[in-house]
């Protein structure tokens, strides 16, 4: 057996102190970390188990109307929290479209943000991978890459970030609350994940030893509750990562778009906030033509990184569909197949 230290601190400060040394890793739900350890992709020397830190388990409403979600809140618990699902329906829908019920019961908020890419070469230690082993090369280039990135990729890495949860979160201006030796700091989720550039191994703004303690949704995020959807195209109906996904949130007033949020998943090394599309939507008519223009804007800079040109067109279409769905209104109840195109298609003529 490969030995490592196992520490179970009682307080956040103990946890941060314990993780200060190199080769440390926090253990939350373990659904990603343990797989990575078993596969020899990471081999931490010290595991700091944060699952017993009570402060990280809470969902609190803040004085300014925002919401603070502790890093250890389980994905399933958050999605099934009725008040949360009502205020942030697209986030709940994204959570419920991810992984399987068993995994969602174990997976945490912090772990979900920090899950690693599913690029198969990253997991295959016999392959070259700049993200796993800086400077070794990128086996995905010229390899089996039909599900890889179409936005923000570099020659050093074409991987995508696989999270569903992060997609509506980034659309809703979520902020990540981080604690380290130097104290607490806040980083927007949009800045939190990095694009690969020449240093794909640097995946986030987190410094070694820093702990995610919570994520915060600003008060404004709840204003989209009536028109917010998450949509995810998959290669089977459930229990599959997104080929491409989109979160769309609108404020619509008498047919005009007064607020617009759009983000894409499965397209880049980070959850992709489509700001140019949002700008195109603001003030426009809430109709298909506007949505098509927004989709074109969102994908204007897209390019295939391999056998994945189809994802660009697919992303365009899913943006249009997600916006149509958002416009039609948040369904009263969570669809039986959350985020699935098969939950319903709004606005399509039945005899088309």
């Amino acid at each position: 057996m490969r030995d490592f230290d196992f520490i179970r601190p009682a307080t956040i400060s103990d946890a941060i102190a314990a993780a200060a040394g190199p080769g440390s890793a926090y253990l939350a739900g373990g659904t990603n970390l343990l797989d990575l350890m078993k596969g020899g992709i990471t081999s931490p020397e010290r595991i700091v188990d944060i699952t017993r830190l009570p402060e990280l388990n809470r969902i609190e409403t803040l004085d300014d109307g925002g919401l603070r979600i502790g890093a250890l809140v389980r994905n399933a618990d958050l999605a099934h929290d009725p008040a949360f699902a009502k205020a942030y329906p697209a986030v709940a829908e994204a959570l419920l479209s991810g992984a399987s019920a068993q995994l969602r019961n174990a997976a945490t908020v912090g772990g979900n943000l920090l899950q690693r890419t599913r690029c198969s070469y990253f997991y295959d230690t016999a392959s070259a991978c700049n993200r796993r082993e800086p400077g070794s090369g990128c086996s995905a280039l010229g390899g089996e890459n039909r599900l890889h990135a179409i936005l923000g990729w570099s020659d050093a890495c074409i991987a995508t970030h696989p999270s569903d949860f992060c997609v509506p979160l980034v659309a809703l201006d979520t902020v990540v609350e981080i604690e380290g030796k130097e104290g607490r700091r806040h980083v927007t989720l949009e800045e939190f994940h990095r694009l690969p550039g020449d240093t794909p191994q640097r995946e986030t703004m987190l410094e070694p030893g820093e702990l995610i303690v919570a994520v915060r949704l600003p008060a404004e995020a709840a204003s989209f509750a009536a028109h917010a959807r998450y949509l995810k195209v998959r290669e089977r109906t459930s229990y599959a990562f997104a080929v491409v996904s989109a979160a769309a949130a609108l404020v619509v007033d008498r047919g005009k778009i007064r607020g617009a949020r759009l983000a894409l998943g499965g397209v880049a090394a980070k959850p992709w906030r489509a700001r140019s599309a949002e700008a195109a939507l603001l003030g426009a008519d809430a109709d298909e033509a506007s949505f098509v223009r927004a989709a074109d804007a969102a994908l204007a800079d897209a390019s295939p990184s391999g056998d994945n040109a189809f994802k660009i067109e697919l992303a365009r279409r899913i943006v249009v569909r997600a916006l149509m769905a958002a416009k039609a209104g948040t369904p009263e109840r969570m669809p039986a197949l959350p985020a699935s195109p098969f939950s319903s298609i709004p606005g399509v003529r039945h005899d088309a």
Binding site: M1, R2, G40, R118, S120, Y121, D124, T125, A126, S127, S139, G142, G143, E144, R146, V233, R234, E235, R236, T237, S238, Y239, A240, V243, F310, E313, L314, R317, I318, V320, R321, L337, S340, P341, F342, S344, I345, V348, R349, H350, D351, A352
Partner: protein, 752 residues
């Protein structure tokens, strides 16, 4: 409970009081749902060590070095087995005495011929130590370029395909038939490599005691495994004791003993202690078989009425560089559709992969998805409804051989499934149906077929003085329900209530039950059981009818019925006595009888024997996003006598779901440069989840077959996948107007 000696062909399930035909639930169900069923890897004999394989990360080349010192230095590691210290074997693992003796990788040298090939075994006190020891070996290789893909090598025509069928067969003049046709189609279809992926990995717990070898391991063919292991180790087969009460699925990958299982035995021999070796999921993508990829080209000609004038089916497939197994995909065209001219041919290339093997309807599944797609294309080209087209080309005799069918209720299958599905209202043209939510909706169909095979099996039956019975045969339950179905046949064979019968199976110490494969296990071992029952009842009847003190005296064998633990005179049922009374009078504690199951050579010559079915599928396709969902499957199958309708339906459901999997999900993604499989795990090697299969219906169509065997059993295990895969593909075409030409059907192929 009743057995008439000289059994007539009346279907057992219409006979009152019989166990056969009853929808019993699985007798092992309670053990399984409570987690108390003991699978191979659940065994922990005292003193047991753990073995972990080190496998190659290259496809082709040579292992240049292994850091054995580092592995041995790791705490808990007991031994590292490499080609240098692997115990000697009696025969070369690369020897091949007959076509079903597959070459094994047993550390015979430092060569690497496919990814995930075993290159060393680390044996340790704990699983964790063995796992880390294997990682510490840090192999270095001399690597040669991998040969990957359907065009990865020079093609050749194999000597035989499948179980030795000729690679090229022709009847009539195909070119002339095509020439004379009014309408012609030609289309090519590609299918990927697929891996069996049984839920339970290959596992073995092996313990030596001198030259006695005791093994717990899942096996679909205990006697074959026993013989192969005995041969490798140079010991008598009776010295090899294999227990395999339950398999967590096999699908063909546990038919032959695999290299890693033998390495577990070698490891136990090397360290002189019991050893457990369990494959990790990713290690199942190489040494335990797979379904080879294929590219199939079909050409068909039709006359003005939509009758086939010619059918040509060519399949390109692959095998390993060192052994021969060739998926007989084109042979699917031999049995289903009448045509004056039929040509089937195969060629192959050799790749740096493990050797492909039998997997979920080998040949039939791959061939069926292409043939059924092409038939659909042909029907459309003729402007005909696909069902009408199939009926127009209905084969009254087996097309390739001209033999009559032993039975064939395919018309009834078409009729009943079409009716239940509502096929009649299907528009002929594609892209005509939308559902209330705007999804493109399509209906497609496929014909299912699978040969009614029988192998060789034996069984031993005992009747005891206390009136109970025992039936023994080394049968294998992969989950199909053998424990239940065979107990039902045994009960009827012994003329006893099922609770009075002790049924034993799943061990190599019992009579050879042949192989649980080819959908032939129920027929083969079932006939052995049936005949063993008849033999012991005949002996009992001899005792009674030959004894003046018996009320049955003088009745003669033909005049006796066995029912509920008693023998009766056929001509006077008021005269009878119990088994106990007969045995007590004879002063016997028990009597036994033996029976065999085997195909009847005369009827083999005369008849074509196949199960048939018809499958109808409804799919929904998102018009913009291309995501597909199968919303309804209705199949009707005729496969001779049904021993247990509940289990049979489950088999059909399972097969049909694998058909969905073939059409929409399964694919081993192989890196085009290294030859390594990129999705060797169940998160990314997709099979359907519950949400992919919302509604499945399987209708059992009555069929009496007087020729297959005395019980009239065909086989139900594999037929469900055939027909279904094509039905789904055809439904996708009907929904979208896009003809799937490669599988699994991908979103990008439907985006338009």
């Amino acid at each position: 409970m009743m057995l008439e000696l000289g059994l007539n062909q009346q279907p057992a399930h219409t006979r009152q009081g019989s166990s056969i035909g009853q929808p019993l639930t699985r007798r092992d169900g309670f053990l399984k749902v409570t987690g108390t069923a003991r699978y191979a890897a659940d065994n922990h004999p005292p003193g047991m060590l753990y073995a972990v394989l080190a496998v190659s990360s290259i496809a082709r080349g040579r292992v240049v070095s292994l850091d054995i010192e580092a592995a041995k230095a790791h705490s808990g590691v007991v031994e590292v087995m490499t080609p240098l210290n692997r115990p000697a074997l009696a025969v070369d693992p690369d020897a091949k005495d007959h076509p079903f003796m597959f070459r094994l990788d047993l550390l015979q040298n430092d060569g690497v011929r496919y990814p995930n090939q075993s290159i060393a075994v680390v044996i340790a006190e704990t699983l964790e130590a063995a796992t880390e020891g294997a990682a510490l070996l840090s192999p270095r290789y001399e690597t040669l370029p991998a040969r990957v893909g359907l065009d990865g090598g020079k093609s050749f025509v194999p000597r035989g395909v499948g179980v030795g069928n000729p690679a090229v067969q022709e009847k009539g003049d195909v070119e002339a038939g095509l020439e004379s046709a009014r309408t012609r189609i030609e289309a090519a279809y590609e299918t990927p490599a697929q891996y069996h992926n049984a839920m339970e990995p290959h596992a073995i717990v092996a313990a030596w005691d001198g030259d006695q070898l005791s093994i717990d391991t899942p096996s679909q063919g205990l006697a074959m495994a026993q013989g192969r292991i005995a041969g490798l180790f140079g010991i008598a087969p009776r010295n090899v004791h294999i227990r395999s009460p339950f398999l967590g699925g096999g699908f063909g990958s546990k038919g032959m003993i695999s290299g890693p299982q033998v390495l577990g035995i070698l490891a136990a021999r090397l360290v002189g202690r019991p050893v457990k070796l369990v494959l990790r999921r990713e290690q199942m993508y190489g040494p335990v078989g797979h379904r080879a990829p294929a590219r199939q080209t079909l050409r068909m000609g039709m006359d003005g009425e939509g009758r086939l004038t010619a059918l040509s089916h060519h399949a390109r497939t692959t095998s390993s560089t060192f052994d021969d197994f060739f998926e007989p995909a084109a042979d699917a065209s031999h049995t289903l559709y009448a045509s004056p001219a039929i040509a089937t041919s195969h060629d192959a290339v050799r790749l740096d992969t493990g050797t492909p093997l039998f997997m979920r309807a080998p040949g039939e599944a791959t061939g069926s998805i292409a043939l059924e797609s092409a038939i659909d294309e042909a029907a459309h080209a003729c402007g005909m409804d696909p069902l009408e087209f199939r009926l127009r080309n209905y084969a009254e005799v087996e097309p390739m051989t001209g033999k009559p069918f032993s039975s064939k209720a395919l018309r009834e299958c078409y009729e009943q499934a079409a009716e239940a599905f509502g096929w009649a209202s299907r528009p002929l043209q594609p892209r005509r149906m939308r559902d209330a939510d705007g999804f493109l909706t399509g209906w497609g169909m496929g014909t299912a077929t699978f040969p009614a095979l029988m192998f060789q099996a034996e069984a031993r039956a005992v009747l005891r003085a206390d009136g109970s019975g025992l039936m023994e045969t080394g049968a294998q339950d992969m989950g199909q329900g053998a424990w239940t179905a065979f107990a039902q046949i045994a009960a009827d064979g012994l003329g006893l209530d099922i609770d009075q019968v002790d049924f034993r199976a799943g061990s190599s110490d019992l009579p050879n039950a042949g192989i649980a494969g080819g959908s032939g296990h129920t027929a083969t071992a079932g006939m052995a059981i049936h005949n063993a029952g008849a033999a012991v009842i005949a002996r009992l009847a001899d005792l009674a009818t030959g004894n003046e003190a018996s009320p049955l005296f003088g009745a003669g064998n033909e005049g006796v019925l066995a029912r509920g633990g008693r023998l009766y005179r056929r001509d006077d049922e008021s005269r009878g006595e119990s088994y106990s009374e007969i045995l007590a009078r004879a002063g016997l504690a028990e009597i036994e009888g033996h029976g065999k199951g085997a195909p009847d050579p005369a009827s083999q010559e005369t008849y074509a024997k196949h199960a048939h079915g018809a499958v109808f599928a409804e799919v929904k396709v998102d018009p913009d996003l291309g995501q597909i969902r199968v919303t309804r499957l209705v199949g009707a199958f005729a496969a001779g006598r049904v021993i247990n309708p509940r289990l049979v339906r489950s088999q059909y459901y399972g097969g049909m779901i694998w058909g969905v999997s073939f059409a929409l999900h399964e694919e081993a993604v192989t890196d085009r440069r290294s030859g390594r499989i990129q999705n060797a795990n169940l998160a990314e090697y997709h099979v359907p989840v519950n949400a992919d299969v919302p509604s499945v219906e399987a209708l059992l169509v009555h069929e009496d077959d007087p020729h297959v065997n005395a019980l009239g059993i065909k086989g139900v295990g594999e037929i469900g996948i055939t027909g279904t895969a094509g039905a789904v593909a055809n439904a996708v075409w009907h929904a979208t107007g896009v003809r799937p030409r490669r599988f699994p059907i991908r979103i990008e192929d439907l985006l338009g």
